[in-house]
């Protein structure tokens, strides 16, 4: 079948009002769901899944993909406006997005988030359409030793998001690693630090930790000193992003998109590490790196490109191998199965119409995302004009509701408040929260892949250097650490 035939077959299944309406509705649901703190993109997709049971396969899948893409962008809205990542993937956006909002540039930051998201979305979709087969076979060469080396490299991001003091960043990261060890041990199946409480057996809920770490400290600070913000110039989120901004950040956006495509096509990493990696690379390459973390628009662009670049690429292992890359695609693969579709190499032969229908839908989704996102920004940016004393209690209510809804478990709400105090103390002592989060996400991955490698080799450490992929990541890890060490020495001791 030629490409034109495939495209026509695809059009024949996708060219219906319902399919496009589902996609559009999905993006709307996703943006709103992502924008509500605590209601992450994952939850939005999970909540939408039952509605797809009765739809046509392509319509249902497009609906879910719309929610996914909308949710990943939507998460950046509260990240910028109220320093609360709507979805874990947008935690990196806080680093520069929220300082911009504090400076009264919320509109500009949101605009850049949207432009970067849409650009990355296009790049990611193109990668899926053009290189799915190639990237999928590359992803299959990632076993535990390769993962271990990649994650070891990713941990060097901590240096990039530590702010002024690397020591404080490292302290934060160690705390994150420590809390990430709670739960079941992967290899022995034994309980670690659960203190006999069944609620702790699954580990600390990620959303609860995330909200606790970022949103609650702001609220505590507000309650502690209700008038601190008065007299400071906030509000006026009416500034807009300019084309010059976009052009200046374009390199970072493309770099972030490619990082997203790369990490997205390897099952098991997800969007949050990609956003942080993209952010720290942008910071490293930028001439005004000093301004990163204080409201640099390029930082917002890099983070959002990094997380949206993942969205299309996670479909590569899903479609080409039948393997879910992260939690969200694990839900989406359920939708395929409900409709009797079997993702994998044969689907490109047996269900060409569906595959190309999805491709067409994905391309259209970038356009829809831009339209829906623009409208959402117009609506949401006024949030930054709402007085803090009204905004903060509302945020608190949303956070409690959202964290409870993740697992219908009141214990998680307790975790959120406990982490809130930890986060507040960290804020008071100028310990950055981002390294904590990175360690909390990557720590268990590092440990699990290390132990799996050791199981594979019978405890022979040479397996960690078993091929070119591991050599590459070991090399860049060493280069990065040397560069960080030299930077530290260059700064005169005060």
């Amino acid at each position: 079948m030629s490409l034109a035939d495939s495209l026509m077959a695809g059009l024949s299944v996708v060219a219906s009002f319902e399919a496009f309406f589902a996609l559009f509705a999905g993006i709307c649901i996703g943006v709103v769901g992502g924008a509500i703190p605590g209601l992450s993109a994952t939850m939005a997709v999970a909540l939408t899944l039952p509605f797809t049971f009765t739809l046509q396969p392509i319509t249902g899948i497009l609906l879910l993909l719309g929610v996914y893409k909308g949710g990943i962008f939507g998460g950046s809205i509260p990240a910028i406006l109220i320093k609360t990542p709507g979805t874990p993937a947008s935690s990196a956006t806080i680093l520069d997005g929220h300082p911009m909002a504090e400076k009264g540039e919320a509109g500009r930051a949101l605009g850049m988030a949207l432009w970067a998201s849409c650009t990355a979305d296009v790049v990611s979709n193109l990668a899926l359409i053009l290189f799915a087969g190639w990237l999928a076979s590359f992803a299959l060469s990632f076993g535990p030793p390769e993962f271990f080396a990649l994650i070891l490299f990713s941990l060097t991001i901590i240096a990039g998001v530590s702010g002024e003091s690397l020591l404080r960043g490292a302290l934060s990261a160690i705390l994150g690693l420590l809390l990430a060890t709670i739960g079941l041990d992967l290899v022995y199946g034994t309980n670690r630090f659960t203190f006999g409480d069944p609620n702790m057996m699954g580990g600390l809920n990620f959303i609860a930790v995330l909200i606790g770490l970022f949103a609650i400290p702001e609220i505590i600070a507000m309650a502690w000193n209700p008038t601190a913000h008065l007299g400071k110039a906030r509000s006026l989120g009416h500034t807009k992003v300019s084309f010059a901004d976009y052009r200046r950040s374009f390199r970072s956006i493309i770099r972030g998109s490619l990082i997203g495509v790369f990490l997205g096509s390897i099952p098991g990493i997800g969007a949050a590490p990609s956003a942080f990696l993209s952010y720290s690379e942008a910071r490293r390459k930028s001439p005004n790196r000093e301004n990163f973390g204080k409201g640099e628009i390029e930082g917002v662009a890099a983070s959002e490109a990094g997380n949206n670049g993942v969205a299309g690429a996670t479909l590569i292992p899903l479609l080409a191998l039948g393997v879910p890359g992260d939690v969200i695609t694990a839900i989406i693969i359920g939708a395929f199965m409900i409709h009797g579709l079997q993702p994998g190499p044969m689907m490109f032969i047996l269900n060409v119409d569906i595959i190309y229908g999805l491709f067409i839908g994905l391309i259209v989704s970038s356009v829809f995302l831009f339209i829906v996102g623009s409208v959402a920004i117009k609506g949401f940016r006024f949030v930054s004009d709402v007085p803090k004393r009204i905004l903060m209690p509302a945020v608190l209510v949303l956070c409690i509701y959202g964290v409870f809804a993740v697992n219908n478990n009141i214990f998680d709400v307790g975790v959120m408040f406990a982490m809130g105090w930890v986060g507040y103390l960290m804020m008071r002592m100028h310990i950055p929260a981002a390294p904590f989060l990175i360690a909390f996400i990557l720590g268990p991955l590092l440990e699990d892949n290390f132990r799996q490698s050791m199981l594979m080799s019978g405890s022979d450490p040479s397996i960690l250097l078993r091929g070119p992929i591991t050599w590459f990541f070991w090399a860049v890890t060493i280069i990065t650490i040397v560069a960080i060490a030299r930077n530290i020495r260059k700064i005169p001791r005060a």
């Binding site: 992967l186 069944p198 191998l321 994998g344 219908n408 594979m456």
Partner: protein, 325 residues
């Protein structure tokens, strides 16, 4: 208020009290807890039965995923609930026969639950990657004796973990714990990926999870554990290979309430399930996914689960797989 009004109010009150007195279970929506994540096998199965079951019950079923710790978090939520029939659990082979058999530290035992039904049986299958060069169980066992064979699972104490150990033990591997290496993964998808990318040699799990990979020729099935062949799996059954005892090795989904669930509630569930499983759309979509619909009444379900638990428990004790820490 006039006298007439008062009497009307009294009349209404009397009617309400009367109806409350004879009100039968269920008089309000029922919370149904799914102890595994959205899009997984349990979730899809639960949501497929939800519609016909909701019609049979006549009250809404509120479905909630409570995930974590291999199904333990959600199971504990139901264990601690009031046994009034308004909080019920979608129990699964992993959470209610493998986990209790393997983990000494689990916060619940089978006695904490009363099963009202088992409605779905999933045949299990073992598969390898084509690049391994293995095409039969005999070849796999020969390789085990050479050394260096490993299997993946969705975690310690999961169904694939026990299934692989049981298959190895039945096929005469002397020291299962040391001759084959267990490489646990996080989740069922990751377990299959580990076989695809060569991290592990084989995986034994529900045939429905493997179906797409077998159809796509990414994995070669070596064995199905049922006595009947499984559609789409070009592999011998356990009985063909003379290992009838492997027929015990099947996945299942059922519904349970806390221990102490009244008899009349359990009976009602039995009747509702009998009605719900008659739904043609339910039957069609379940069988299309490779499940076998096999409805058990409350008594039969309890016996089935207890029986499977005993088999698994004996295997775990014989192999020294029990997790005490």
């Amino acid at each position: 208020m006039t006298l007439k009004g008062t009497s009307v109010a009294f009349a209404i009150g009397a009617v309400l009290t009367a109806s409350a007195a004879v009100a039968e279970y269920p008089e309000r929506p029922i919370n149904m807890i799914i102890p595994y994540g959205a899009g997984g096998a349990t979730d899809i199965s639960a949501r497929t039965i939800a519609e016909p079951l909701g019609n049979a019950v006549g009250k809404p079923l509120v479905m909630a995923n409570v995930t974590g710790a291999g199904g333990a978090t959600g199971s504990v939520a139901v264990q601690n609930a009031k046994p009034d029939g308004y909080t019920m659990l979608f129990a699964r082979v992993g959470s209610h026969s493998v986990n209790p058999a393997m983990k000494a530290t689990l916060p619940y035992t089978l006695d904490d639950f009363r099963f009202v039904t088992v409605y779905e049986i999933n045949p299990a299958a073992c598969a390898v990657s084509p690049s391994s060069g293995i095409t039969t169980m005999d070849a796999l066992i020969a390789k085990v004796n050479e050394g260096g064979v490993s299997y993946s699972s969705s975690g310690v104490g999961s169904f694939p973990h026990l299934a692989s150990a049981m298959v190895m033990s039945e096929f005469g591997v002397a020291d299962v714990m040391n001759d084959v290496t267990h490489i646990p993964q996080k989740g069922g998808g990751a377990a299959i990926t580990a076989v695809l990318n060569g991290t592990a040699t084989f995986v034994c799990t529900n045939s429905s999870s493997l179906a797409s990979f077998v159809a796509n020729k990414q994995l070669i099935p070596l064995l199905v554990t049922t006595s009947e062949p499984v559609v789409g799996f070009d592999a011998p059954t356990a009985n063909d290979l003379g290992k009838d005892s492997l027929n015990q090795l099947v996945g299942w989904t059922g519904i349970a309430g806390p221990d102490g669930l009244p008899d009349d509630v359990a009976e009602k569930w039995g009747a509702w399930m009998a009605e719900a499983t008659q739904d043609p759309q339910f039957t069609e979509s379940m069988t299309a996914r490779g499940s076998v619909i096999r409805l058990m009444d409350p008594v039969e379900a309890n016996e089935f689960i207890q029986g499977q638990y005993n088999v698994f428990r004996k295997l775990v004790d014989d192999l020294g797989m029990r997790i005490e820490g």
